[in-house]
């Protein structure tokens, strides 16, 4: 049996990068976006998101945790033994993260 080369290490790398981003940055953004701005504690006109460095930051903040989700969701649904076929599930998860990355880039370039 020859050893097969796969792109699996790439998914693992994106998974852990996304995990780090989610662990350090997501809680404060949920606080700002979910509570502080809607409840009027902080003002936000959205102008800040047009800053080029902020856009770059947002790209990392939004895109990487999508791969973290894809990897975890794929393995967890498999582990749950729900009878979901593996290949379509992988396509949904990893494909979803790739589409999410492209959409994020598109939105950030348009604003």
């Amino acid at each position: 049996m020859a050893e097969k080369k796969t792109i699996e290490p790439l998914w693992w790398a994106l998974f852990s990068a996304g995990g780090v981003v989610a662990a350090f940055l997501v809680p404060i953004h949920i606080f700002i976006f979910g509570f502080a701005v809607p409840l009027g504690w902080l003002a936000d006109t959205g102008a800040i998101y047009r800053h080029v460095w902020v856009k770059l930051y947002l790209f990392v903040l939004i895109a990487l945790p999508l791969y973290h989700w894809a990897h975890r969701f794929y393995f967890t649904v498999n582990d749950m033994h729900l009878g979901v076929p593996r290949k379509p599930l992988a396509l949904l998860c990893y494909g979803g993260a790739v589409v999410g990355t492209l959409v994020t880039a598109w939105v950030l370039l348009r604003i």
């Binding site: 997501v26 404060i28 979910g34 945790p65």
Partner: protein, 137 residues
């Protein structure tokens, strides 16, 4: 067999039901940790939709923001925040195991590594909050 993975046809597969993870508290915590990624992803998608409103003008952006003040969305964000913090804590624990930190020959105790990461989380959060307020201008 030269591959690193064993021949799949010779592996033993225990029969498992879809509810196996409800049988022990640790299994349930494992599932909660895994599903934290779903809440984080949903939050980020909603955040992206909000940012996308900027293409329709500042009024659309403000309207969207106001809608997030409804009890339903606040509830969602409370749940999402709890899951996100649960992810942070479990992530710090597993990274303390996967990437042990050393000073010279001695390994730093895991709990201390987790505490250091939590302190870093607090500092990073504070810096993001300060930048968010100061860049508003």
């Amino acid at each position: 067999m030269t591959g690193t993975r064993p021949d799949k046809s010779k592996l033993y597969y225990p029969k498992m039901t879809p509810t196996w993870w409800l049988k022990r508290p640790n299994y349930i915590l494992f599932m909660l940790r895994e599903f934290s990624s779903v809440f984080i992803a949903v939050f980020l998608v909603v955040f992206l939709i909000q940012i996308c409103q900027l293409t329709r003008g500042p009024e659309a952006y403000a309207d969207f923001s106001q809608r997030l003040g409804s009890p339903g969305w606040i509830t969602f964000h409370v749940v999402a925040l709890l899951f996100a913090l649960y992810h942070s804590i479990t992530w710090f624990y597993s990274s303390a195991i996967v990437l042990p930190m050393r000073i010279g020959e001695t390994e730093i105790p895991r709990n201390r590594v987790v505490a250091l990461n939590l302190a870093l989380l607090a500092v990073v959060s504070f810096v993001v909050l300060l930048l968010f307020i100061s860049l508003q201008g």
